[in-house]
Symmetry: C2
Subunit: 237 residues, 2 copies
Amino acid sequence: MKAHALTTPLDLIALDADDTLWHNEHLYLATHDKFKQLLRQYQPEAWIEPRLNAIEIRNLQHFGYGIKGFTLSMIETAIELSEGRVSGAEIQTIIEFGREMLRAPIELLAGAAETVAQLAASHKLMLITKGDLLDQESKIARSGLGDYFSLIEVVSEKDIDTYKRLITKHGIPPERFLMVGNSLKSDILPVLALGGQAVYIPYRTTWSHERVAEEDLDSTQYITISDIGQLPAILEN
Amino acid sequence: MKAHALTTPLDLIALDADDTLWHNEHLYLATHDKFKQLLRQYQPEAWIEPRLNAIEIRNLQHFGYGIKGFTLSMIETAIELSEGRVSGAEIQTIIEFGREMLRAPIELLAGAAETVAQLAASHKLMLITKGDLLDQESKIARSGLGDYFSLIEVVSEKDIDTYKRLITKHGIPPERFLMVGNSLKSDILPVLALGGQAVYIPYRTTWSHERVAEEDLDSTQYITISDIGQLPAILEN
């Protein structure tokens, strides 16, 4: 834990969901691997990953975050890297990759269920997540954690405007708002910029699109913990 | 207008967006036509539409509403109806159909802008729409009508549970809640079932999935108007 401490009391604690409460990035990594296997007859494996990433990030402005847009990006990448030779059966396989991701069981991070239950006993909790609406709602329902959250917000982007809109809508002064998540770009920096507080819990992998440059970071402004189970203790200090 | 009259005062007027405030179904119809043109080398044109509809409805449970899921359904239909012979270039064309739909300009229905402005002067307004989050947000922003709505809700399904959650969240008694929209299935029947009030404005076309059987309808329970411009007059009666 960094020297900086939280200022209490807090009116609202907001938590990110994907890779903060439950594992998510592993689904994308596993699908990237299957996608590379599928396409290696067309191109060297080393070319596939960077091209998929570039197409995915280019498509965010049209498709937004989530598995449906990712699936469309895989299809476009397959067409491009195969120079149009990819077969109908292979495209169908890619759509099945997407459908399998949507159906994948929810695996909570160690300590997430206990921590959320403990925090909910003393604080009002909000879940803030981005991605496809139906998919995120389905994951929240399947996680069994939905009832601990007074407020659930599925948003299309987690930037300063989004957080400003949310805390204004719920009448929360920024300094009494705490955001907890695994993405410096989406969970920590925009909240600090608004005068809110933030706890960073790095996940074992971070999607390149969510990485931020060192110079944008002032780690004295937020608290880093390695495990969500450490969260209640910080709030008591 | 039917004999039934609205009971006033109302605490909240909610409006559907697609095909109630702006044209939407025409985009799907135009894309269906382009899709049939693309596939008619593989199958008789009359086979294409029913198969696309069936795959689209089957996929709603995985993909939800919206253009991204529709695009994936077009791709699956193309693979199936071409028996896998559809080319990479043709699949890319289908993805472009989806991207064009996402970029299509917003065409407001005649009278929609004036009516919304007039209603907002006397009532609290909510916009309730289903579809892809980013796409719906983008359409609301581009429509220029967003500022008239105190509350904007993009939902994954418009059923009794959804409406119940929304009016409870905002503390509205059902009988003081009015929903206005073009879908009997999504805008009218679930609201009546909760004890709310509803105004039905049929659009020139209704997607088959949104149609309801005659026996499910009791048209004495809601008001039908032919034009959104008639809405303010009903509220004054």
